[in-house]
């Protein structure tokens, strides 16, 4: 039992990183039907930006947070400008292909420039160590990322459900032409959504560094697939659903590994795919109400 709870708790950290990544993913997915595989590279750029500021430039942790946010937002706006805006409205498949292109170019350019070795991500002192509760280790870093995730979740749900801009976002996701006739500056709203989505990817990248202690140029490749599955799981465009979806995938795959025999741990990624295919067969609309038609 203790083993189970310990595994569950540890998975909450990984789950928070996926949840925040998926929340950003589902927002751009919902508003312009974008299946964005370059989101993983936005996540990676955020993590690497923080790494360079904290580890290489030896600046304080808060400067790393700013670097992660700024790096992610700038790269996401560049991707939007180059890869998405010119083909918007042509269809989901085209957007998906240009996102794959942007992802490949960014990942490989980063590998060429900085190689793909693991880079040590320094954790600030206040996140080192653990509290001990009976035989359980409550790691400070996990408590930290879970609390931040809850805070982000509350802010996002409030933004999408209660504010005028949130209502504008949802109306655009349903019918962009009609939204325009109501005076909604759809271009501006879409850019805002991209910025929020990128900030979330940057925060997720920071979480990754804090949790695992290292970052690398190819780190975005797998998490972005999980973020995609999590956003389908939660209902496209549904922020809270994506967050829950992220936790389900992380907890499920961690527990799977915890109980599999040692020589089968390579099956960890299997969980997300099993969930994905089961979902496509049983309930393709996701567990929660999607925000688009």
């Amino acid at each position: 039992m203790e083993y189970f709870i310990q595994q569950l708790f540890t998975a909450l950290g990984y789950g928070s990183a996926l949840a925040v990544l998926a929340a950003g993913y589902t927002m751009t997915f919902g508003i312009i039907g974008l299946v964005n595989f370059a989101h993983g590279e936005v996540f990676m750029i955020g993590a690497l930006a923080a790494y360079f500021i904290i580890q290489v430039a030896m600046l304080p942790f808060w400067a790393g947070i700013i670097a992660a946010l700024a790096g992610s937002v700038i790269i996401a706006l560049m991707i939007e400008r180059v890869a998405f805006k010119p083909v918007r409205g042509v269809g989901m498949i085209t957007l998906f292909i240009t996102s794959l292109g942007a992802s490949t170019v960014l990942r490989n350019t980063t590998i060429l420039l900085f190689n793909d070795r693991l880079k040590k991500f320094p954790r600030p002192n206040f996140l080192e160590g653990a509290y001990k509760l009976g035989n359980l280790f409550i790691y400070k870093r996990i408590v930290f990322v879970v609390l931040i995730t809850i805070l982000i979740c509350i802010m996002l749900v409030f933004l999408v459900k209660k504010t005028k801009i949130g209502i504008a976002m949802r109306s655009i996701s349903y019918n962009i032409n009609i939204a325009q006739t109501l005076g909604i500056n759809t271009e501006m709203v879409i850019i805002i959504v991209f910025m929020i989505s990128a900030s979330l990817a940057g925060i997720s990248g920071l979480f990754w560094g804090i949790l695992f202690g290292s970052v690398q140029a190819s780190m975005g490749a797998l998490p972005v697939v999980y973020a995609f599955i999590a956003s389908i799981l939660g209902g496209v465009g549904n922020v809270l659903g994506a967050i829950i979806g992220g936790y389900i995938i992380a907890i499920g795959s961690s527990l799977l590994v915890a109980y599999l025999p040692l020589d089968l741990v390579g099956f960890k990624p299997l969980f997300a795919w099993v969930i994905f295919f089961a979902l496509l067969i049983i309930k393709p609309s996701g567990l929660f109400r999607a925000n688009i038609k």
Binding site: K164, I167, A168, R170, S171, S173, Y174, N175, N177, I178, A179, Q180, T181, L182, G183, I184, N185, T186, E187, A290, N291, I292, K293
Partner: protein, 242 residues
Amino acid sequence: MIAKPILEVKEVIAGYGKMSVLNNISIRVNQGEVVTLLGSNGVGKSTTLKTILGQTDIKQGEIIYKGINLLALKTYAIAALGISYCPEGRQIFGNLTIKENLISGAYLIKSKQKFNENLEQVYNLFPILKERKNQLSTSLSGGEQEMLSIARALMGSPDLLLLDEPSLGLAPKLVDLISEIIRNINETGVSILLIEQNAKLALDNANYGYLMRKGAIALEGTAEELLKTDRVKDIYLGIGKV
């Protein structure tokens, strides 16, 4: 006295991509008037409204609203000048509640007080929307959805309302109600450009009318004149010889 125009569409040729749907259209809506655009299916009535809103490709001509040329403006900027649109087939946001649909219509209203006034006004006009404000908009019946669509357009305090087929698919009793609502809205000083298949409903409420045929204006005149013309019925049904 010559009435002051709020909207003038001048010799416009427009369509989608290379295809032209509108072939040299000129329409004038005077301040405070109801003007109707008649014609059978597929003659370009809805395209005319979309062209005014900047959602088609205009090849020639100009559209002047309150002295401003709309041609270079984006749709949302055109809406910001005080033009509201109530599209054919309701087109309410099915993923939003009734209240949220109304908030989306008031996107441009910055003052909280003005917003509450407008909300009060549409709730008075359509009490059913107030009763069910927190329900998903798709839970409404067809007629109620039409009311929501009109209410959403009114939330933006328009000076000019573009109404596309408000009576489409509604029961006769509701058609009378829509007619009454159009008059009510017009009495508050809103100019209306009304598209209707139901020629009687349209001409009963309009000051002036245009009859479209194959993307062009076939006939125009005051509502009384048009009602008297035999040709209206003929052309309207698409069987007349123009």
